[in-house]
């Protein structure tokens, strides 16, 4: 028997019914009377001066209602292009990536808008694009921006450089003494690994609808990972106060970090302001791939030393991220904090840089920075385990960091069940028996925390309604309803959740970094406890007792020691509305940045490699994870399985193919994501080592299962073939080439 009535049960998602019937509304489904259609003209060049931009012919086309360029953006003359992050970045004097919007049209139909785009006259002067991080980092490299100054953090001077460059962030963390560490090692291995640019691959393309009314009130429907963050971006971009903007809640067709940006809605609002009509903009899939915000490519050099017994003595890790043309989401800090995983490393140097190039700007993707880092670290550990003849799980157990150990930034590590998860995986694999085709890898995510509020309304019939402003990208509404039912001791059918708009909902940060269930959950539990305390006060008055004498259980308040004297929650709730007194009961919860609850995942991939074709077939895939406490195991499993599929895409097939800085494979045929026929059933093993902070010991789930996949697959390929691949994606072609090279060298040897 579970200790909880509702938590830990796989109840169906509350949004599932509307999604299987087609009733669920996504931003692109919104149609308003007199709505116009917006379309962007995008730069065909990765780096080009805009010598002339003439929209006269486009404006004159019948059906065109407005054409806007950077000159229409408030403050464009005085603001730096770098001062408003995560905005659409209409090109001003020059385009800095292929796909950057140059001008935007609103017309009475999409076809007219498209025709108008073709009538915009632009004279470009092409500049040589910076397409390689090594080139862009050189001191004499041409500058993408005259006013980008490197942010330094960690060792040495902290703050901004005085001279401009193309490096946005440079982070260094150090501990112990590397030289001593490597001296104390019996085995030192150094390798460079590369990971490619990949897209989050959400199925719903970006879309937004904006409507500005006569009072200047702005209403926006846009998919986002946070209503309030979307509102903030629009406000910054258009220099409008927050209270004039209302962002409506809509269903979100997949996000994975990729919808933390507002690339369309600020433009839609501006078009609606100019025309007085509502405006809808949608990206085509080509635009989504070429011009939204994919994860950056990375180059990772790792040097690792270990004793014969398998103790890691030192790690030096240096990573360069190809951030593309805007420093919107620096990866370096995440990389520095999560890069070495959850190992106890006495001597350490982490150096990470975000380097700008003339490619599509990089954005967040599920556990930003951690999968590339883990690809390098976990591949390297695998090589060490092979060299030393130590079982890969055992090698990791030997080096596990424990509670109180310091993270690279000096923060102490709270309790996390790494060892428990490794041991659980060992048991699971023992049951399955030995396999020569298996690869093990681990993934660490330190967690994130946010600022969230929640209100619980106690209705007159004893049902309750939870109000939040959360963007549900992972089933969080269902989890929150379960938390409320548990806390309030009510049947789940009597709990409703309402996602308000940004005018009416309690504040919620973005749903990112795997923090929603954990941080919002903390606020929700607080709101429930607040409501309960108020209800106990009311019940005490009605029952004419002191509050301390009242106990509450499952919808009934009873006098302690006198169970016959009782009143139901429904009656107390009703009396709050219809009797003189304190009035309606509203529970309030608010949380600001609770402590991080780190997470760990341990994966085992088993593959078969066709030596004729280089094609990989999965024999099995096991994903174990410390989830703290699974509020809804089915949702947790679904998140893990989805992350593994994404990781398999990253490991084996997905890639950005550029020709002179212009992405060539902008369709889902050429940017190939895994289908049901490509991925195996993923067996999940949930380990529950409760987090010391957060309600019910919950941790987060979404990011960690993405982290180990790249290395787990590479390590499995090594087991199956003896070939080590250090560059992604490991396509059949790459594997075949590696197999041939191995054959050639062994026949020579």
């Amino acid at each position: 028997m579970s200790e909880y009535a509702v938590i830990g049960k796989s109840v169906p998602r509350i949004d599932a019914l509307k999604k299987v019937t087609g009733e669920a509304i996504y931003s692109g489904d919104i149609t308003l009377p007199h709505m116009l259609h917006g379309k962007a003209l995008r730069s065909p060049y990765p780096h080009a001066v805009i010598k002339r931009l003439d929209v006269t012919r486009a404006r004159a086309l019948d059906g065109v209602k407005a054409v806007i360029t950077a000159a229409d953006v408030p403050g464009f003359k005085v603001k730096s292009e770098l001062s408003c992050p995560e905005a659409p970045h209409l090109a001003r004097d020059k385009a800095v990536y292929a796909g950057q919007p140059i001008a935007v049209v609103a017309a009475t139909s999409l076809r007219i808008a498209e025709e108008a785009i073709g009538l915009i006259d632009v004279e470009y002067e092409e500049l040589p694009p910076l397409l390689d991080t090594a080139e862009a980092m050189k001191p004499d490299a041409p500058l993408i921006y005259p006013d980008l100054f490197t942010n330094r953090f960690g060792r040495g001077p902290t703050g901004k450089d005085n001279t401009p460059g193309n490096i946005a962030w440079h982070v260094i963390f150090e501990r112990g003494n590397l030289e001593t560490g490597f001296k104390g090692a019996d085995l030192v291995l150094e390798n460079t690994y590369r990971t490619q640019i990949v897209h989050q691959g959400y199925l719903e393309p970006m879309a937004a609808v904006a409507d500005v009314d006569g009072d200047g009130k702005i209403t926006v429907w846009t998919q986002n990972q946070g209503l309030f963050t979307a509102r903030g971006t629009i406000a910054d971009f258009l220099e409008v106060p927050l209270h004039r903007i209302k962002v409506m809640p809509v269903e979100i067709g997949g996000a994975f970090g990729g919808k933390t940006y507002q690339l369309l809605s600020p433009l839609c609002v501006l078009l609606s302001m100019k025309t007085g009509c509502p405006v809808r903009m949608e990206m085509t899939r080509d635009e989504v791939l070429a011009a939204s915000r994919p994860a950056p490519g990375a180059s990772i050099t790792v040097k690792m030393g270990a004793t014969r017994q398998g103790q890691i003595t030192a790690i030096s890790l240096s990573m360069f991220f190809d951030e593309g043309a805007f420093p919107e989401r620096p990866y370096s800090m995440n990389a520095a904090l999560t890069g070495i995983g959850l190992y106890r490393i006495p001597n350490l140097k982490l150096e990470v840089m975000d380097v700008l190039t003339n490619k599509v700007p990089a954005g967040s993707y599920r556990a930003p920075a951690a999968p590339p880092a883990a690809f390098a670290i976990e591949s390297q550990l695998d090589l060490i385990s092979r060299s030393l003849g130590i079982d890969p799980l055992q090698l990791r157990i030997l080096n596990v960091a424990a509670e109180g150990d310091l993270l690279p930034n000096g923060a102490p590590l709270p309790r996390v069940g790494f060892k428990e998860t490794l041991l659980k995986m060992a048991d699971t694999l023992n049951e399955r028996g030995k396999s020569g085709n298996r690869g093990i890898a681990c993934g660490f995510w330190r967690g994130a925390a946010g600022t969230f509020a929640a209100s619980l309304y106690v209705n007159g019939d004893g049902t309750v309604t939870l109000a939040t402003g959360v963007a549900d990208v992972s089933g969080s509404r269902t989890g929150m309803v379960q938390l409320v039912a548990e806390e309030m001791g009510l049947p789940i059918e009597t709990v409703a959740i309402a996602t308000g708009d940004s005018d009416t909902a309690p504040y919620a940060d973005m749903s990112t970094g795997s923090r929603t269930a954990y941080s919002l959950g903390t606020a929700v539990v607080e709101a429930c406890r607040d409501a309960k305390a108020q209800l106990i006060g009311r019940a005490a008055k009605i029952l004419e007792k002191d509050e301390g004498e009242i106990e509450y259980s499952r919808g009934v308040f009873r006098v302690r020691g006198n169970p016959d004297k009782s009143i139901t929650l429904a009656k107390v709730a009703r009396s709050s509305l219809f009797s003189p007194g304190e009035g309606p009961v509203i529970g309030r919860g608010s949380v600001g940045m609770p402590p991080f609850a780190p997470m760990i995942a341990v994966h085992a991939a088993e593959v078969d490699v066709d030596k004729e074709t280089g094609k990989i077939k999965f024999l099995s895939y096991v994903a174990a994870q410390d989830v703290g406490k699974a509020i809804n195991p089915a949702i947790v499993e679904g998140q893990i399985q989805g992350a593994v599929a994404q990781g398999i895409g990253w490991a084996l097939m997905e890639d950005y193919i550029f020709d002179k800085g212009v992405m060539q494979n902008t369709s889902l045929l050429d940017y190939r994501m895994p289908t049901a026929a490509d991925v195996p059933p993923v067996e999940t093993v949930l380990v529950e080592v409760g987090s010391p902070s957060g309600p019910y010991g919950i941790r987060a789930v979404g990011e960690p299962p993405m982290v180990p996949v790249l290395a787990a697959v590479a390590n499995a390929i090594h087991s199956a073939t003896g070939v080590r691949i250090k560059e992604l994606p490991m396509t059949p072609e790459v594997i075949l080439k590696a197999l041939k090279a191995q054959e050639a060298s062994s026949s020579k040897g």
Partner: protein, 159 residues
Amino acid sequence: MPESNGDKIELNIRVNGQNRVLTVEPYRTLLEILRYELGLTGTKEGCGSGNCGSCTVLLDGKAVNSCLVLVAEVEGKEITTIEGLSLRGELHPLQQAFIDEGAVQCGFCTPGVILTAKSFLESNPRPTETQIRRAIAGNLCRCTGYDKIVRAIMRVANQ
């Protein structure tokens, strides 16, 4: 909505059991007509080029990518969208199975996968897991890793 070019044609189709007469430009796709003329927004556009399956509908019972079908091709035909699967307030067994098995996450691919599965199970009522995986390989899902979708379809097949 006025269009700048193209003569309109009269189109007679049967959508979710109802006869509809529309006057539309012949170059428009079935997807556009369903979403914007008939307001059936349960059919989603994920790529517009037949690579993702989000816009799958049944055309005379067969699953098609509605983004690749021009209206001129559907005269006199019967179309079923996701809204037509539960018309009388009762869910189709596939819809129920998707809810119960946790096969729905963001939900954007869901209508298309359900319709593909319906068409597939009608021609192949007792499929293996491998056959199911192949049958839905034209429907991309980025959230679930497909496992629970496959299980939901398997459950209906075994009923």
